[in-house]
Symmetry: C2
Amino acid sequence: MNAPIRLLVIGGVAAGASCAARARRLAEHAEIIMIERGPDVSFANCGLPYYVGGEIADRNALAVQTPASLKALLNLDVRTGCEALQIDRTTRQVEVKYLADGRHEWIRYDALMLAPGASPLRPALPGIADARIHTLRNLQDMDGIVAATAEGQRAVVIGAGFIGIEMAEQLRHKGLSVEMVELQTQIFPQLDAPMTALLESELRHHDIGITLGDGVARFEPQDGHLRCHLNSGKQLDADLVILSIGVKPDTELARAAGLELGPRGHIVVNEFMQTSDPAIYAAGDAVQTRDRVLDSPVNVPMGGPANRQGRAAADHLFMPATARPYPGSLGTAIVRGFEVAAGITGWSEKRLATAGKPYQSVTVNAEHHAGYYPGARPLTLKIIWAPDSGQLLGAQVTGFEGIDKRLDVLATAILGGMTIDDLCHLELAYAPPFGAAKDVINLAGFAACNRRDGLVRHTSALPADPQVQIVDVRPKPLAEAFPVPGTVINIPFPTLRASLDKLDRSRPVVTVCAFGKMSYFAARLLAQEGFDVTSFSGGMRGNIDPRSPGKLPAA
Amino acid sequence: MNAPIRLLVIGGVAAGASCAARARRLAEHAEIIMIERGPDVSFANCGLPYYVGGEIADRNALAVQTPASLKALLNLDVRTGCEALQIDRTTRQVEVKYLADGRHEWIRYDALMLAPGASPLRPALPGIADARIHTLRNLQDMDGIVAATAEGQRAVVIGAGFIGIEMAEQLRHKGLSVEMVELQTQIFPQLDAPMTALLESELRHHDIGITLGDGVARFEPQDGHLRCHLNSGKQLDADLVILSIGVKPDTELARAAGLELGPRGHIVVNEFMQTSDPAIYAAGDAVQTRDRVLDSPVNVPMGGPANRQGRAAADHLFMPATARPYPGSLGTAIVRGFEVAAGITGWSEKRLATAGKPYQSVTVNAEHHAGYYPGARPLTLKIIWAPDSGQLLGAQVTGFEGIDKRLDVLATAILGGMTIDDLCHLELAYAPPFGAAKDVINLAGFAACNRRDGLVRHTSALPADPQVQIVDVRPKPLAEAFPVPGTVINIPFPTLRASLDKLDRSRPVVTVCAFGKMSYFAARLLAQEGFDVTSFSGGMRGNIDPRSPGKLPAA
């Protein structure tokens, strides 16, 4: 049996609670103390936006466990309203303060788990202290936002990451008017900009105002509301503001204890989640682990990694001989905005470009299940791979249905070290309600291999050079209704073989269609007829909201 | 560029049409002739049942391409109503017969693709020639079935594989009464029996009669209907019969040409889909390829593999230097019956047992997305792995939502050679509408590793030995409402630590709960208190329809 040691866990949400629960399964007789500064433990923080909008009606559903339930189920000594003040690593003690009565206590530990999480950023802007400016981390923040909302009010959401997008949707559900402001020139900045076009269109379609490439400079109380002055000079009036511009790790305690921190203040851990002091573990939003694709340091402040990191730490503490390392984080993320979902796994094109890593990418469009079965809806998939090995580096998906499925398959493929050739031959579940004989993931593999094998050249931008002949191979009515910008020759694909004399063989050709499929067919045909030809990857559909296909996105 | 060779394709549905289409992209100037005995090419055969029930309302949606559209798009010479009679391999010619006028012709080829498909089995039983006995392979069969159906009629579906299940559902949608008969003692025989319980319950819930472990002996016309006499003596009266007991490869042409066939009559091909004559390729339901898990010969008569095999053959023919091998088939399959789906990828437990291969398995239950978000529905996942390496061999999933997603992830994991440890750390997409911080696939990995690491022993059957103490750790009301069969001690988990004196330490214990999770917690607790304890894997919920949890399945 394990020796009855004392594990002290600081932080009682995802990583901390997972660590404590796993520890109890492994060590029935260990003494496990979990302290939490807030009043709640093990609550569903990812669900908070959905309670604000009423999709989750029962607040108790979010409070997954209580100190009493954790005592009954896991024999944990849970102390809420208890703040850790300092760590004495030499004597292995933590000084805590009980917020209810101000009492101080030193708690001895044999092993310590730091799961402090991360706080929403709240930059020192003029007017930032106004009570109408909310961040969202816990149930109390959520309650504050709910109390501040009333139909017809004006909300400004600053930051269009996934929390900002979820909050914008939920505030619209409650009948508020919503304006979003994002410093970057796109929403959901983890994604490459073109993959956010559909989601942006969906948010606008639901009357959410979106200001991109602009940030807030200051807040000014004004006639009973709050005026947000943006860097551009634009002004937005708000009855409440949601500040969702990112988080910073809560690592002052670790820093003061002399534990090694990364360049952005995250706690550095080894593959068993041990900090630079092997008696102290850390897990969750506050730590820096390894990227699973390119093995660089990375912080992924998400619930899934936090839970599994906490569990991995308990494994190492209580079964060191058989514990497996935490393999690192991938950065899989998904967000829903009304009917549209968008997500990413692994590396984006822009992140690879910034890091100076070589990559290639293709974007394909297809329907989420067999087109002949009712209800098929379009989706767009972008995959990114290493040119030398063909190994997958990342993927992004957007559309209406089946987005999470493709992301999960591609996350698995990346973690399995799979290549674009492997994607061609994934044997996925196919019955008409569920898939297609060739899933969009197979199609992406085909397109990538075609490119690797020199069968086709892709471009993701229409040529500006007037020497280039742009050939739109869509049917004439579609080509006329939703024209490709610029000087374009419309040759519907079925007539292309008989129309080669309409094209100048001495000038390059770019082929364009709706989905990127017929343009590829046309490029193959023209290449074999001796033309210098490039296919417009992804098609017009990939750049256009399929519900209003005439409108090009702002990006 | 490629020399303008002549490719002759026999069979114009999935494999043949994919081969011809890919061939055209690679070889604009090749002569490509595709012959098809039936009147249709490239139709959506997987959609046929859904037209019978009216879910697919437009018959034209099933006719994906026509000879004219294939001429326009691909410059194919498509000849329907054209039957191949014999192959002269020496002179590379195929004798064909045009069914319309009886004319014969020898067609020369440089390369030949055989994509003949497979025919529904129609055993030589007494009465089998009756016109009321239907099989389903093509649009004409479908039209015949539609013509034979009318509300209130009695249908008997013989064979409860996926076509049988889909047809049973669709005939119920049309208002017929439906009886199913299956020779095996379970429906959907690819799966292990316990994983079919929910789907069987769903079919019965929709008033489909199911007779298991029985087959049809003879058919007898009777007072304007057809009486099906079963082996057991049971009689079922039918206005129409659907015979869906499997398929046999249409390989007489290949056999007569002296091509190598496998033990069950399938065409043997190499990794580039070449038959024993390298000028002749074969693909689709009629071929035998390699199993991707255990590298044994296998036939997977499904649309996905057929499409990709046809494409792989064209690659080898027209770009031999860069063509990648067809990596083999996995056998991923899914079926929907009303609200329930069930599926498999890789090997089942019973198939491994029959083959004498070592394996271990666990079954876990969870909800398809975060339980705190509305609409979470239960699903059950079984994974099977190699005990020595932990490598995944197969998986089965059943439930209401997200079944295809888990199957696809697990198919990908199997193809990536991933292990139970890898499943623990799959980083899947999580936002409340889409998943959970720990997906059921992570949970299955945890459970498998717990077993591998000796943390828990599982049993999939309740003990018959009265010496064993069965401890039901569910809350008392649940334990009383849906009792575990036999003599059972109910000790709700939160009270277990204080109730150890209710148990006899000298006798073994099996712990039972609803999902298999609390019983694992209890087993860990009791093991560390010195008990000889085993957890009932999968819980009562896994054996019981969650909509009528008091009813144990027949199996």
